[in-house]
């Protein structure tokens, strides 16, 4: 199963062979929300102010900063907050770790967003792992058809990140992880140091209080600046709506072949991402849905469930 190359028709791509169908060919690469400020989002101002503060601190302390960008809702909020922090500019590059298992419409979205926001985007693929050469010659190609999802995630995301960081020597990554996503993320600091091997020493994290952070690190080490740590999934949507932030279309319900409606809550590699049944085709409906849902956001992500504590193991080894 090798990655089909464009110009295959999107609807024929295996990514859409499941319940979630390909998008209509309407020439629209992104969803532009109608700007609505609901009455129940007064707390967004405090979240926004703290995130901007964190982003500016990161830029001050670390001059070699990069912002990983998955193209998902959270990382699009990060782009927005960066522009607010720097008056419409983004003074650092963005990084997309391309696993080669992206949904085709996400690649379309990526190209559109680079143009729209004027991004300085670096795209990184762990080519050796996909092709089974170099360090991977003995193991053969790494892919979902040959390897378990935890290993694929580690090799195509974390290892790819290590490779590109070695090349660019970034000393800080501004990330969009949130405490409410996962129990291990609930223990994160805003500024979280990582060793040269990307290890997260969660047993001995530095103290962090009064908005003073770990502002330096040793050679080869880096700091993850987690600017959205305090936000909840619902906050992200309230903010996207309030600000009118353009996002991928896959978060909205489409009618599958079985006649039921599906959407994605969390976007990842297509072989391991499942949609949830949902009628939500507007942001208002998504927000209302989240007010009552009891399933976790990453429930559709197979690599999290492959084994007990898979997420903790992935994260200790450097996964976001």
């Amino acid at each position: 199963m090798s990655q089909p190359t464009i110009p295959m028709k999107m609807s024929e791509h295996p990514a859409y062979a499941g319940r979630y169908p390909a998008p209509p060919e309407d020439g629209k690469a992104a969803f532009f929300p109608e700007k609505i400020s609901r009455e129940d989002c007064a707390h967004l101002d405090a979240l926004e102010a703290q995130s901007i503060f964190l982003i500016r601190e990161a830029y001050h302390y670390f001059k070699n900063v990069c912002m990983p960008w998955s193209m998902g809702k959270d990382s699009n909020v990060l782009i927005w907050l960066s522009k607010k922090a720097f008056c419409g500019h983004i003074p650092y590059p963005l990084l997309h770790i391309d696993t080669t298992y992206e949904f085709p419409e996400m690649i379309e979205y990526r190209n559109w967003a680079v143009e729209h926001h004027g991004l300085n985007l670096i795209v990184k693929i762990n080519e050796d792992a996909r092709a089974g050469r170099g360090a991977y010659a003995e193991r053969g190609p790494i892919g979902y058809d040959t390897t378990d999802p935890v290993t694929v995630t580690h090799e195509l995301k974390t290892e790819a990140l290590k490779q590109v960081m070695a090349e660019h020597r970034w000393d800080a990554l501004i990330t969009g992880i949130r405490r409410d996503e996962d129990p291990t993320r609930a223990k994160e600091r805003y500024f979280s140091p990582r060793t040269a091997d990307f290890d997260w020493d969660y047993k001995d994290q530095p103290p962090e209080f009064w908005n003073q952070f770990t502002s330096s690190c040793g050679a080869g080490e880096h700091v993850r600046v987690q600017a959205l740590l305090d936000w909840s999934e619902r906050d992200i949507w309230l903010y996207i709506q309030r600000e009118g932030i353009p996002i991928p279309k896959m978060y909205f319900a489409r009618t599958g072949a079985d006649g039921k409606r599906y959407r994605f809550r969390s976007l990842g590699c297509w072989p391991i991402s499942g949609p949830v049944e949902s009628e939500a085709d507007t942001i208002d409906k998504i927000i209302d849905e989240l007010a009552v849902t009891k399933t976790s956001e990453r429930a559709g992500r197979a690599q999290d469930h492959h084994e007990r504590n898979a997420m903790q193991k992935l994260r200790a080894k450097g996964f976001m």
């Binding site: 503060f53 001050h60 720097f86 047993k203 103290p207």
Partner: protein
């Protein structure tokens, strides 16, 4: 499952305050049941994902362990194995009244840093005491730290009532003992609630059967009775500068308003350099352009006059300024791996300020559980100590008393790369400037290196080479620059015609050869002075490119920074200014080989800084030079020296 009791009627839209998440920290002695209580609250408020409880119950059966509510919280493998919480966790949940962030702070003594990390951002606290064990060392210690951190809203939950047969007498004994302790530290608990977290008694619902004698509120009721933090927009303005950006030809000052209100047209005073300017605009990308910004906002502003402003300066209104001091007392807690030792130098951070400081004296070390002074007087503070200390900083610290403006009244101390401890500033005795003497002592042996000098001076030596026509403003700029640097506590001096021509170079005239020799000597002297740690400002016309290049090479040979500043004013302007009547005399033929008239001036092609003095005010000119200079002389604090 219990029904959540809310002290407030549910309306369609909560008030502004009730939409803000209230941060509640849970503290207490290890094993007194914090994680169990938090797990139970999540269970009772139905805050957990579907199937989570069943999933953990199944995992427990698999491992042959008894299910506990604490497991709902303890996600990390190690915690499940050790059955203790190892790091601060923040989780959201909500009641009918409002959303909360629960901060679980570990109780182990060696995990003080995690408790501080958790508790320092809390609006309120729940402190647990197990009824069967009673008040323990950590119960008191945590209470003391809460009071030190300024957390005034505290509920005490007396847990494990099921282990003491729900005895009212035992409960009352715990209450009496702990209430007495709290009163000593000036803290008053809102109430004491007898609970059994594992059974859910008095957590979300009342335990009328088991504890009929208790008529008070449940833990959740008490959470809902806490007050939301009040906005600080009415307080005096404090706007610490976070950064200065140059975007789209504009100079933008970024930062977060810690307190007060900022309006376009306000005259701001920046401490500690006491410069003022007026707010020209509040910049908001993609937002509504507004004339006013409030406490809590991260903003960007522009000023009408481009004065020198940098990170760490604190803007206020002119009439209500913060305190400036470089010697002060503080209450400090220490969690560093190494001791904090008197006479040693550390980095102090308060909002965006970053200063070198020295521990002058340890005035009292306090046992936080007995509140008594610890042992004999000593000159260090060890890990987990709490103490009263006196600190001295190299340059003035801008601050407020903690009870007036909390964010300007607390600081941290950095030891190496690590945050070592935190301190609280309170009023009274810390502005006695007459006692300030340099107590910087170095024990290093051998050659005094540039980095030794930089460590003592707080900056590196460098040469600021001003070049420009006579009358372009070099001397004026040099003097103002010297004053500016001096006020920042930097070591600086000026080399100009007045102090060089009459002495060192008194044998030189104005022939082309003599001009070359003049500049060569100035270059060498500037290098020697810069090597000794000074920021040397040279103010000579220095009209020839080749001479300036030579001066630069001399500086670089000595490892000194060199900043060429083109003081750029058109000849007509200089001639019009003619402060020393030289142009008039040159035109009249009284002075030969006068630069600009009868001798050439070769404008710099690659000057680091260009200062068009005919277009900028003096303050603005200083700002342009300072912005380029300071990053070049910044001393990176290195504790090894």
């Amino acid at each position: 499952m219990s029904v959540i009791q809310s002290s407030k009627p549910v309306s369609a839209v909560a008030s502004f305050e009730d939409q803000q998440r209230l941060k509640v920290v849970f503290v207490g002695h290890v094993d007194h049941g914090k994680s169990t209580l938090i797990g139970r609250i999540f269970y009772d408020t139905q805050s957990l994902a579907d199937g989570k409880v069943e999933q953990i119950q199944a995992a427990c059966r698999e491992e042959g362990m008894e299910f506990e509510y604490a497991f709902l919280l303890d996600a990390l493998l190690e915690e499940q194995e050790q059955n203790i919480t190892i790091d601060t966790t923040q989780i959201q949940f909500k009641t009918a009244r409002r959303p909360y962030v629960i901060i679980d702070a570990p109780g182990h003594k060696e995990f003080l840093k995690n408790m501080i990390t958790g508790a320092a951002s809390a609006d309120a606290a729940v402190l647990l005491i197990a009824a069967n064990e009673g008040v323990r060392e950590q119960s008191r210690r945590h209470g003391y730290l809460l009071s030190m951190l300024g957390i005034r809203q505290v509920v005490v939950a007396v847990n494990k009532m099921d282990l003491v047969n729900f005895s009212e007498e035992t409960f009352n004994a715990v209450v009496a003992e702990y209430r007495q302790f709290l009163s000593q530290i000036g803290l008053e608990a809102r109430t004491f609630v007898p609970i059994s977290a594992r059974n859910g008694f008095n957590v979300a619902s009342k335990a009328a059967v088991e504890m009929p004698w208790y008529k008070g509120p449940s833990v959740l009721d008490m959470l809902d009775r806490f007050e939301s933090p009040k906005p600080t927009t009415e307080q005096p303005l404090r706007f610490p500068v976070q950064d200065v950006y140059r975007f789209d030809e504009r100079r933008i000052i970024a930062g977060r308003i810690e307190s007060g209100t900022l309006r376009v047209g306000d005259r701001l005073l920046f401490s500690p350099n006491n410069k003022t300017s007026v707010v020209a605009s509040i910049e908001r990308w993609s937002g509504e352009p507004g004339e006013v910004a409030y406490a809590g906002e991260s903003v960007a502003i522009t000023l009408t006059e481009q004065i020198f402003v940098q990170r760490g300066h604190v803007a206020s209104q002119e009439k209500d300024t913060p305190i400036e001091s470089n010697r002060f007392k503080a209450n400090l807690f220490w969690m560093g791996k190494n001791n904090l030792v008197a006479g040693n130098r550390y980095k102090l951070k308060l909002t965006t300020q970053e200063l070198d400081c020295e521990l002058v004296s340890v005035d009292r070390v306090i046992d936080a559980s007995t509140l008594e002074a610890v042992g004999e007087p000593r000159n260090y503070i060890a890990r987990n100590d709490v103490a009263e200390i006196t600190l001295q900083t190299r340059t003035p610290l801008v601050m407020d008393n903690h009870d007036r403006i909390p964010t300007l009244g607390r600081f941290i101390i950095v030891d190496g790369h690590q945050v070592g401890g935190g301190g609280i500033l309170s009023g009274g005795t810390y502005t006695d400037r007459t006692q300030v003497k340099s107590q910087n002592i170095f024990w290093s042996e051998g050659k005094v290196t540039a980095s030794h000098r930089a460590a003592r001076n707080g900056h590196q030596g460098a040469i600021v080479w001003l070049t420009g026509l006579s009358g372009s403003g070099k001397s004026t700029l040099a003097k103002a620059l010297e004053r500016e640097l001096f006020n920042l506590g930097m070591h600086t001096t000026i080399l100009d015609g007045d102090n060089v021509r009459h002495g060192l170079n008194s044998n030189l005239g104005f022939s082309p050869e003599d001009r070359v020799e003049n500049i060569r000597r100035v270059g060498e002297v500037a290098r020697l002075m810069a090597e000794s740690g000074l920021i040397v400002i040279s103010a000579f016309i220095s009209p020839y490119r080749v001479d300036r290049r030579r001066a630069r090479e001399i500086a670089l040979e000595g490892g000194c920074g060199f900043l060429e500043v083109f003081v750029d004013a058109p000849l007509e302007v200089c001639e019009q200014r003619d402060p020393k009547n030289l142009y008039r005399r040159a035109r009249a033929g009284e002075i030969q080989e006068f630069t600009g008239i009868s001798a050439p001036y070769e404008s710099p092609e690659n000057a680091e800084v260009v200062v068009p003095t005919s277009k900028l005010s003096l303050e603005e000119s200083i700002a342009v030079v300072m912005e380029a200079l300071l990053p070049r002389v910044r001393h990176e604090f290195s504790p090894e020296i």
